[in-house]
């Protein structure tokens, strides 16, 4: 009986009864199997599969491509802006796009760069070189910047750059003041035209070897000023203009007081303006992020491991054929309706109904046990039960036909009391 073939009758169906149901001599051993047709391939060709895949995925592919195209067009159409402070391409409040555009409208060719080398290449006689926020440039870099023969404007120079440019003025090392307008108090034409400017810098004072050619403007009572005009050391015919802080040139503040006038005049002396905002040098302390702490092989290794994980995913992600599916019969418990009725009793607090059911069930079983017909009267049943259990009649009749229970406790007690009575009848 362990082989399916012994069960199969000659005409096909299997006899589930096995040997017991079959008359002797009719053993059926011929195996009825169905040989399917030999199937070769799934009727597709490489072209038809490619076509099917294309039809299945074309919506997604076309959608992705058009999204990519739209993104490229958007990028190409958007003017290039930066977020670097005092950059001529930065339209945000701390940028200097307003000043650069006005200068451009006035005929000045503004060339923005962030590379010192490029700035050195662009600058020359007949140009103005503006250096903003040099971040403590090394001495040799500063010298190469200053030796191009162009006029130089330094905004918020570091001590090293200022010292390389001139020893006529030095930092006054005052703590930055709140940006209140300060009057020019000098005869330098640009400053005089500006009248008042707002700047928050630490001011300059004249150096020990200062000559009369050096003008300090926007001075305070001690003689330290926000703006100085002098010449480069070593090349006395090249004008050097120094402003202690660039906050007055930003988009936000350029319209305040005479900021715009000072900026336009200071930067508009020549036809070409080379605007250098030097790249902040990368050091381990600032910039570079976490990669600065990693060994040099870490990033390539991580990329390689990513490749391994990708291949692993492709290996594991390809199933050996699709999942086989099957319709299963519904799962409805047969006792569901009974449970539902119980919940209904509970929700409507039908203690009377529940109690009556329990009593009827117990009475029915006891009556059958005692051999009473179903049609016998309550009195006959009580009488028979009393005789079987030797309990007082009023007790039995109270239990079986008394008032309905009124609460959880009453119902539970009725149930257990009925159980007890029933067990006594059954023992009797």
């Amino acid at each position: 009986m362990d082989k399916a073939s012994t069960l199969v009758a000659p005409d096909g169906p299997v006899a589930p009864g096995g040997e017991a149901t079959r008359p002797a001599g009719t053993t059926t051993t011929s195996s009825t199997t169905s040989d399917g047709p030999a199937v070769r391939g799934d009727g597709t060709t490489a072209a038809s599969r490619a076509g099917r895949r294309w039809r299945a995925s074309r919506v997604v592919v076309v959608g992705l491509l058009s999204a990519l195209l739209a993104g490229l067009v958007l990028v190409a159409l958007t003017p290039s802006t930066t977020t670097v402070r005092l950059d001529p391409g930065n339209p945000s409040p701390d940028g200097a796009m307003a000043l650069a555009q006005v200068l451009g409208d006035q005929g000045v060719d503004v060339r923005s760069t962030r590379s010192v080398a490029e700035a050195v290449g662009l600058a020359g006689p007949g140009t103005t070189l503006l250096v903003v926020d040099d971040y403590g440039m090394p001495d040799d870099v500063a010298r190469s910047l200053l030796g191009t023969g162009s006029e130089v404007v330094l905004v918020a120079p570091g001590p090293a750059l200022l010292a390389a440019a001139t020893d006529q003025v030095t930092h006054a090392s005052r703590s930055p003041q709140p940006t209140t307008p300060s009057p020019a108090r000098c005869t330098e034409p640009d400053a005089a035209a500006a009248g008042e400017v707002t700047t928050a810098g630490g001011r300059f004072r004249a150096g020990d070897s200062a000559t009369g050619a050096t003008a300090l403007c926007f001075t305070d009572d001690s003689g330290a000023g926000h703006y100085a005009v002098t010449t480069l050391d070593g090349s006395p015919d090249v004008t050097l203009r120094v402003l202690d802080d660039g906050s007055g040139l930003t988009n936000a503040a350029v319209t305040t007081a005479g900021n715009a006038a000072l900026g336009l005049r200071m930067l508009g002396h020549e036809e070409t303006l080379v605007w250098l905002v030097p790249e902040r040098p990368t050091t381990a302390d600032d910039g570079g992020g976490i990669t600065a702490y990693l060994p040099p092989w870490a990033v390539p290794l991580a990329a390689q491991l990513l490749l391994v994980v990708l291949v692993l995913g492709l290996w594991q992600g390809r199933r050996l054929g699709p999942l086989a599916t099957e319709d299963l019969p519904v799962v409805v418990r047969s006792s569901e309706t009974t449970l539902g009725r119980g919940r209904l009793y509970r929700r409507s607090r039908s203690y009377g109904h529940a109690g009556a059911s329990l009593r009827a069930g117990a009475a029915d079983r006891m009556a059958r046990r005692l051999g009473l017909p179903r049609s016998s009267s309550p009195d006959a049943l009580v009488d028979a039960v009393c005789r079987a259990t030797r309990r007082p009649p009023e007790h039995v009749s109270g239990l079986l036909y008394g008032p309905p229970p009124t609460g959880d406790v009453g119902l539970t007690r009725l149930a257990t009391d009925l159980d007890e009575l029933e067990s006594e009848v059954h023992r009797a």
Binding site: G12, P16, L301, Q304, L310, T338, L358
Partner: protein
């Protein structure tokens, strides 16, 4: 295109040059190398669509027994096929290890055998055969899933056949074939024979004895060639689960045992499965062909979620049966369904036939009736009590209309129904 673990190993091998050069460009280069090797390897693999597949599977198998699904694979390409083949079946076909490694030179054929141990009655269909051919390096390969039709009919388990020998013994006692002859009540007159000591004196045929010298007794045998119609209700009430199987499965067990017993007793057995239309019918099969036919017809039956069309069922029975017969309805004793469905039409049946209603009872309801620990359980117990009372009332009403009701737990229904049949036969009520 599929990749293997070797492709992963190849990708991982790239760690060495990457650590030596320490540039991301090496990673990109290595990725290109892996992709190229995989593409070339896949291109050199045999085409899985050039392999012809033939599936051989038994037509039918009994539940709990196993069958073998054999695939004959023939390599029609000019390359050596080296890879894996999967013979996929529906989950409840119970395929044990459906993946087989396959190494197939050009022009040769191999066979793979997948053992099926079905877990559910009915027609189990084969899914696709998936062939995965790997390239010579084993880094990548090609894969195709090919529909290869195949169906295995899983017949009912017929676990109740263990009750058959004892019932057949009782049948032989009734039949007068046992060593001790006993006389049944209300049975057919068979023959006259001489009185031997021990015979029931009430069976002495005085008239015949007076004619001759010897005392003569009459012998009897139960009727033969009666018709038994098993009606299987496949409507919504049969879908409800009792334990972990639908009520229908227990009904099928009972129907099979009754069919086996009745055909041994010489009666003609027919079966119909019905809800709102005829789902299956077995008629005209007798002897050793009956049981296979019954099992085959019942195997694919599933309960459908509709209400039974009782008038239609009665019309069907009256059309099928002209002479007085035993009609066994395998349905449920659900009071609501009985009141609205069977009761109004049952007298049309009982007027002409002996009717037995066999119903599978739920042990869960009996367990609910015992609950006493919380008020909620007592409410459930009361509901169960009420259900039982209604069932008892329905049984009584049906009994008054001449229907014998057999209600038993799933395991006991088949033997109880067989006993009912034997007692009806012994009483000559067929």
């Amino acid at each position: 295109m599929v990749l293997t673990w070797r492709a992963v190993a190849l990708a991982a091998l790239g760690v060495v040059p990457v650590l030596l050069t320490r540039t991301v460009a090496t990673v990109l280069l290595w990725a290109v190398v892996v992709a190229l090797v995989a593409a070339v390897d896949a291109a050199l693999a045999a085409s899985p669509r050039d392999v012809s597949v033939q599936r051989t599977v038994p037509r039918a198998v009994r539940l709990t027994e196993h069958a073998r699904s054999t695939l004959v694979l023939r390599n029609g390409s000019r390359r050596r096929f080296s890879g894996v083949v999967r013979d996929a079946w529906q989950p409840s076909a119970g395929a044990q290890g459906d993946r087989h490694p396959l190494d197939l030179p050009p022009g040769e054929q191999r066979r793979t055998v997948t053992v099926l141990v079905p877990t559910r009655r009915g027609d189990r269909r084969a899914d696709r055969v998936t062939l995965r051919a790997l390239g010579p390096l084993g880094v990548a390969g090609r894969q195709a899933s090919i529909p290869v039709p195949g169906t295995l009919r899983v017949l009912p388990e017929f676990a109740s056949r263990r009750h058959l020998p004892s019932r057949l013994a009782r049948l032989r006692e009734l039949d007068g074939q046992a060593a001790v002859q006993i006389r049944g009540e209300g049975t057919e007159f068979d023959s006259l024979r001489e009185y031997v000591i021990g015979d029931d004196v009430r069976s002495i045929d005085w008239r015949a004895s007076a004619r001759g010298q010897e005392m003569v007794v009459r012998t009897w045998r139960p009727e033969r060639d009666r018709r038994v119609l098993v009606v299987l209700d496949t409507a919504r009430t049969s879908a409800a689960r009792i334990g972990d199987q639908p009520r229908l499965d227990a009904s099928i067990e009972a129907g099979l045992l009754l069919g086996a017993l009745a055909s041994k007793a010489g009666d003609r057995v027919e079966m119909v499965a019905y809800d709102r239309e005829l789902r299956a019918r077995v008629a005209g099969a007798a002897g050793p062909r009956l049981l296979p036919a019954l099992a085959d017809a019942m195997a694919p039956l599933e309960a459908s979620l509709v209400e039974t069309d009782w008038p239609g069922l009665v019309a069907l029975v009256r059309e099928r049966l002209s002479q007085r017969s035993l009609v066994v309805i395998l349905s449920t004793l659900e009071p609501a369904a009985i009141e609205t469905g069977l009761l109004p039409v049952v007298e049309q049946l009982t007027a002409h036939h002996t009717v037995v209603l066999a119903s599978v009872a739920d042990p869960a309801v009996a367990a609910l009736r015992e609950g006493r620990s919380t008020a909620a359980e007592v409410f459930d117990a009361a509901a169960a009590e009420r259900t039982e009372l209604e069932r008892a009332a329905a049984t009584m009403v049906l009994g008054r209309r001449g229907v014998d009701v057999v209600s038993a737990l799933p395991d006991e229904l088949a033997p109880r129904l067989a006993d009912t049949y034997l007692s009806l036969k012994a009483a000559g009520r067929l």
